[in-house]
Symmetry: C2
Subunit: 418 residues, 2 copies
């Protein structure tokens, strides 16, 4: 199943002027319709919504806004090439350059999670430390194990009422289930083995003991399923919505931790399961791909791996950025879930757009060397499919070739507003 | 400095009818005045406020309410003795009995953190697990280390706007500083060495990148001071107040982890520093007693240790309950901070009441065997004082002898409402 034409590593995405228009980090896409009610509060959805008009802001210093149609979306301030060094930016590799913060954060413009993360990743205290093998910027932190032991994995994640679930319609059991499984999905994304978890709940007055017990039952069920010991926690009252943060400590699996930065030009890009439409229920009831990840590590020796939590587009963009490469997906190869098709019939957005931008799939996105097999015959993933959906190229960003046109998809997914 | 008369272990607090009235877990104290504005939202303060009238509820099944004056406070439903077994309760030792949940949680009555924790501690999945040496119920979870290695410590804690700080008046730096140091204080309470931390922030819209950076600077400063690597995090948007949850992974110190359950009749009870009035600033700017704790472990071999986070009264009560003993403090020996005296001049409550009930002192409460020294000459705690403030007795609960009267103080401190 050859998805992308051309020899591995020969096509340079930076050089080819994208058919659908590129978007540099200096440009800006504003949120538009299509966000379900669940996400409307404090969240901006960056979709690939065809026909949607987008606000633009001034591009990187001195660059004039660049109007271009991408699948019907109007994008401004979008340089076609990765911006050159200068003005305080950081060159992460010979291929890719992170522009300086002042270019990204225009005053008066709402700040995004991405901007904050970029700032953090560049700060030394959060990047390095005694015993830290991989800090902020990957699915989990990787820390040195005791002598001769496997490295430790450390992760924290939160679920917030009105953002990750709606307490009015969600059974409290699923709040607990999701809260732990989100962190476990990140441990899975490293091919790791989770060991211990602690949970901190912020509880509004009147939430009540009965519901707290059900949340705990969800946490306990998720812990039991993954073989994790839930060893501690904290409850604090809040004037705001209910939230739970869960931290998980684990160990790297036998193949060592798989970082998201290891993708190299020519690699195959894979995804497990089918994507999109998780809002119809799977975003609560999913099970993290812990066993599948370990099987993938054992059989396919992935060069990079991460979980798809914010949307295939944005997450493929993160993997591309971490590796200093471009990721090019084949639209027809992306596995689209039944839920994504159901949503598509309701809202008219294409099933592929749902698969790219809905997020909360908690599937695994990974890359393998060109010589590794491209089919999963004999790969026992317990009924979970793994599909080759594209290739890694030299260049920047995440792209999709859909009906013969190439467009940039780094921005298809969720971002939290700060 | 002999504080409590009588031979160690000879006095049985259960048997002596307390002069100031006891309070069984079946009884209930309602919140009343005296809570500063910071704590009014979603928090109930259980004080030793003299003259305050308290709502009562029906005591444990079949027990008639027992009216009794305790330092001027009217307490109802308060059995003078630990309740006898029966009706589904749990006997934790030959001395102490935890009554069944249905006695504690009257329908329609706001539920407390304590009730939830009691429920949790009795649930097997949260108490036991592969490799878990101490689960929910102590300052940190203690988990088995790799073969031949020291056990691991795991802790999570949160700070919430309106509960633990007021974002309108607090510099964001101190929010981050406090968020990490609260968890570090729990690692200190075990005599442990913190290694790695992860932080999850729930961020209201409009909080802004500038303030987030200051919060991170506070986290980073606290991490640097304690030699902790801040290795990861998460940001989520919320419609509610700003909050940060921090999880810390550490290792037990050379003397092994010191649990809060080890106090035995006859032991001396100690506290570091001076207590009360933290609301005037120290609740934000404190430094966790990490080095002091390790020095205490090395020199005094404490039998039990914990940090004073919710108030000396409530925390001494927790230590007593964990060990199945009574803790009797000498009012005159409790070190009262300058801030507690300043508050006392403003509100008329005694400095001792502030020291017992204000909480957020983040000092160490610990016990030592009767033969250990009772003075700290030669104990290098870097200028921090350690004071003997009472003794451990057979029986239940925390008590104070103040101006010749003994009263129960388990309820003096904070509880979060659920």
């Amino acid at each position: 199943m050859l998805l992308v034409r051309g020899d591995p590593g020969r096509e340079d995405v930076r050089e080819g002027r994208p058919a659908g228009g590129g978007r540099g980090r200096g440009g800006a896409l504003e949120a538009l319709g299509g966000a379900p009610a669940l996400l409307s509060e404090g969240l901006r959805r960056r979709g690939t919504d065809p026909g949607a008009e987008r606000d633009g802001r001034e591009g990187p210093a001195g660059r004039s806004p660049d109007l271009r149609a991408a699948g019907g979306a109007v994008i401004r301030g979008a340089p076609a090439r990765c911006p050159p060094p200068g003005g305080g930016g950081v060159r992460t590799s010979s291929h890719c350059f992170i522009p300086p913060a002042r270019v990204c954060y225009n005053p008066g413009v709402p700040q995004d999670e991405r901007a904050f993360l970029d700032w953090l990743i560049r700060r030394r205290p959060f990047r390095r430390g005694r015993g830290v093998l991989a800090g902020i910027g990957d699915d989990c932190a990787v820390v040195r194990g005791p002598r001769g032991r496997t490295p430790g994995l450390f992760k924290i994640d939160s679920v917030v009422d009105g953002v990750h679930f709606l307490s009015k319609t969600t059974r409290p059991f699923w709040i607990g289930w999701k809260a732990l499984n989100r962190s476990l999905s990140d441990i899975a994304a490293m091919g790791g083995v989770p060991r211990y978890a602690v949970a901190a709940a912020c509880v509004p007055r009147g939430f009540g003991l009965a519901r707290m017990k059900q949340v705990m039952a969800g946490l306990a069920a998720a812990a039991r399923r993954a073989g994790v010991a839930l060893v501690g926690g904290d409850t604090a009252s809040t004037a705001g919505p209910f939230s739970v943060s869960v931290a998980v400590w684990g160990e790297a699996g036998p193949g060592g931790p798989v970082l998201r930065s290891g993708a190299r030009p020519g690699d195959w890009v894979w995804v497990t399961g089918a994507l999109g439409g998780s809002i119809l229920g799977r975003h609560l009831t999913f099970t993290p791909r812990l066993r599948e990840a370990r099987e993938i590590v054992r059989r396919l020796r992935p060069t990079a791996m991460m979980d798809v939590s914010d949307g295939l587009g944005i997450d493929a963009g993160r993997m591309a950025k971490a590796g200093g490469v471009a990721i090019v997906l084949e639209g027809g190869a992306v596995p689209v879930s039944r839920a994504a098709r159901a949503l598509s019939r309701r809202d008219g957005r294409s099933p592929l757009d749902h698969a790219l931008a809905d997020g909360e799939d908690y599937e695994l996105l990974f890359t393998t060397r060109p010589r590794r097999p491209r089919d999963v015959t004999g790969l026992s993933l317990g009924g979970v499919r793994a599909t080759v959906i594209g290739r890694v190229r030299r260049g920047c960003g995440a792209w999709i070739i859909d009906r013969g046109r190439r467009r940039r998809i780094d921005a298809a997914g969720y971002e939290h507003l700060l």
